[in-house]
Amino acid sequence: MQFLYSGITSGSIYALVAIGFNIIYNTTGLINFAQGEFVVLGGMLMYTTLTMFGLNIFSAFLITFILMFLVGILFERVFLRYVRLKTEINLITVTIALAIILRGIAMMIWGRDSLAVPSYVEEKTVLLVGGSITSQSLVVIVVCFFTAIVLSTFFKYTKYGKAFRACHDDQVASTICGIDVNLIRMLSFAIASFLGALAGAIVAPITFVTYTDGVMSGLKGFSAAILGGLGSFWGGLFGGFLLGVIEGFFAFILPSGFKDAFAFIILLLILFVKPSGLFGKKKAVRV
């Protein structure tokens, strides 16, 4: 049974990253390959504010989120707006390039070793049926659900939320209806960056943070987003947990070396059966 808890713990990490992917996809239709680096930066900033400056947890979180919010804005304002030919592939390759730069900067500032971040909640193990889960993992799971709820209500019911979704469906139409598309694009990157930082920050105590983590967390987050269906928050959440549990399950029944392989095999099978992911709506292709 322990694989379930281990699956949920890593699953909640994937879910948070997946939600970050979905925000940017929901408004700009892009896949941000630097999402993994946002997670790393979130963790690194928490390390700096908490251990280096010894601030209390609340102000540490605050500083980290403000900085990452600005990084997101800078990201979109400077890099994505001045791309001359704004094809999807060009913009995605820009995010790949930025991911490499961010990784280089992280290595420069925080060095090559993994950094430990003190846990925010008093470390104790919660015994459950047939296994156990740490208090820190519970925090991650709770924050994960909380974010999904907040975001889906924001996107479904608030005025701004609808504007975000309108931009994705048809940017031209949204502009005509008076939506400032540029502002929305900027905000979507800012929120995605904030979310990446949130994921990185609350996960750091469990997994430590190393400058090379970005690739793997980005990859797992992306597969979770695809698994759940691009664009849907609940899809991203469910996809993340499902991916985590699948990995945990295969680590349990198979020689654990193969767990990632089988997780990807499952992902491929789902894609073949339902090409738009479990919750994804089939994008109507105008003939």
Binding site: S6, G111, R112, S114, A116, M216, G248, P255
Partner: protein, 365 residues
């Protein structure tokens, strides 16, 4: 931070080095690079080897075979080095050892796997202990404490793979039964499912073979599942960094390690103490970060090179022969006794069994 020390005087002893300074194995490469730079700087102050300064050229192979091969050729062809120290990883060392042998360039690898120096080749040496020696140290300890069934959990990289092979092979000679053989990736975040599988098999001891952050995650998961079976780790985690990461979960972990980590606990009569203390003091003063066994491998490689050049001058073939005849060199990692059929020269005694007790190392012989 230009690395090419081209001093004006006739710097004609050209020494090359290849480490994994960036990429996944960068925590290996950096201390190695820093140690080598420090030693060359110190030696050049005392104007090098019999009057000739050393021109050190270091390249980064990013832990990739193709890069290691390119950088090796660059050192040999462009920079005309007479010997190469490194690479840091087993994979990259194996990628260039044939080339080094063909081109007659003495290569002193700082990677662990026995396959680098076995079968023995004239120009190929290595300074880290082999996994077999670390495994023997652990198995001796297990035998002494009457442990019969062991579980192993090893990382999916060069270090973990060779460790796993050694653990399984040596287990036969020590009549230990391997009841569980689990793997993990160094980017995995949670290994509780593997550990719970191990717990179900009720082993007498668990041995985790890996480097970097992942073993620290295993230590924490171990505590989370409160498995009270003794946990052994490899010499890969013998650094303050590991204790920092694992925190309280590191307590009670046994691991074989070079003397470097417990130098201040060694009795003064210990013949290693002076060298270790000197290295530790100068390294920590210069780079204000903890000294690590990986840096120690580079330390020994450099001194082996220095001795060989002092004896044999700059002829590559003679250097290789000189290296092969090094006897009783007391290095940081242990006592090196090279021979025709052992280009590593280290024995089991280069390891000490140590235990982590509330954040400090403690000798557990």
């Amino acid at each position: 931070m230009v690395l090419v020390f081209t001093t004006v005087a006739l710097a004609d002893i050209k020494l090359g080095a290849i480490f994994s300074i960036t990429g996944p194995a960068s925590y290996l490469g950096l201390p190695e690079k820093q140690t080598l730079e420090m030693l060359v700087e110190e030696l050049n102050k005392k104007n090098g080897i019999n009057g000739e300064k050393i021109d050190l050229i270091i390249y980064d192979d990013k832990g990739e075979d193709a890069e290691a091969r390119k950088k090796f050729l660059r050192l040999v062809q462009n920079d005309k080095v007479i010997a190469v120290i490194g690479p840091s990883r087993t994979g990259t060392s194996l990628a260039i050892k044939e080339l080094a042998q063909e081109m007659g360039i003495p290569l002193i690898s700082v990677a662990a796997s026995k396959t680098i120096v076995y079968p023995v080749q004239k120009y190929i040496f290595k300074t880290p202990q082999s996994d077999e020696q670390a495994v023997e140290k652990i198995y001796d300890y297990l035998k002494k404490n009457g442990k019969k069934k062991i579980a192993i959990i090893t990382s999916q990289d060069g270090f973990g793979d060779t460790g796993r092979n050694a653990l399984i092979a040596e287990a036969k000679n020590y009549e230990l039964e391997v009841v569980a053989d689990e793997r993990f990736k160094d980017t995995d975040k949670d290994m509780t499912s593997q550990l719970s599988k191990i717990a179900a098999k009720k082993p007498d001891a668990v041995i985790c073979w890996g480097v970097g952050p992942a073993p620290a995650v295993i230590a924490k998961n171990y505590k989370q599942l409160n498995m009270n079976i003794p946990l052994f780790m490899s010499h890969g985690v013998a650094s303050k960094k590991f204790i920092e990461l694992a925190g309280a979960a590191a307590d009670g972990i046994y691991l074989p390690a070079g003397r470097l980590v417990v130098v201040d606990k060694l009795p003064d009569s210990d013949k290693y103490k002076p060298i270790l203390m000197a290295y530790k003091k100068s390294f920590e003063a210069k780079f204000n970060s903890h000294v690590s066994p990986f840096g120690g491998y580079a330390y020994d490689a450099f001194h082996l090179f220095k001795m060989a050049v002092e004896k044999a001058g700059k002829d590559k073939a003679k250097i290789a022969d000189a290296l092969q005849n090094v006897k009783g060199f007391v290095g940081v990692t242990g006592v090196f006794n090279m021979s025709k059929d052992d280009h590593n020269g280290l024995g089991k005694e280069s390891f000490m069994m140590i235990r982590i007790k509330n954040g400090e190392w403690e000798i557990a012989e």
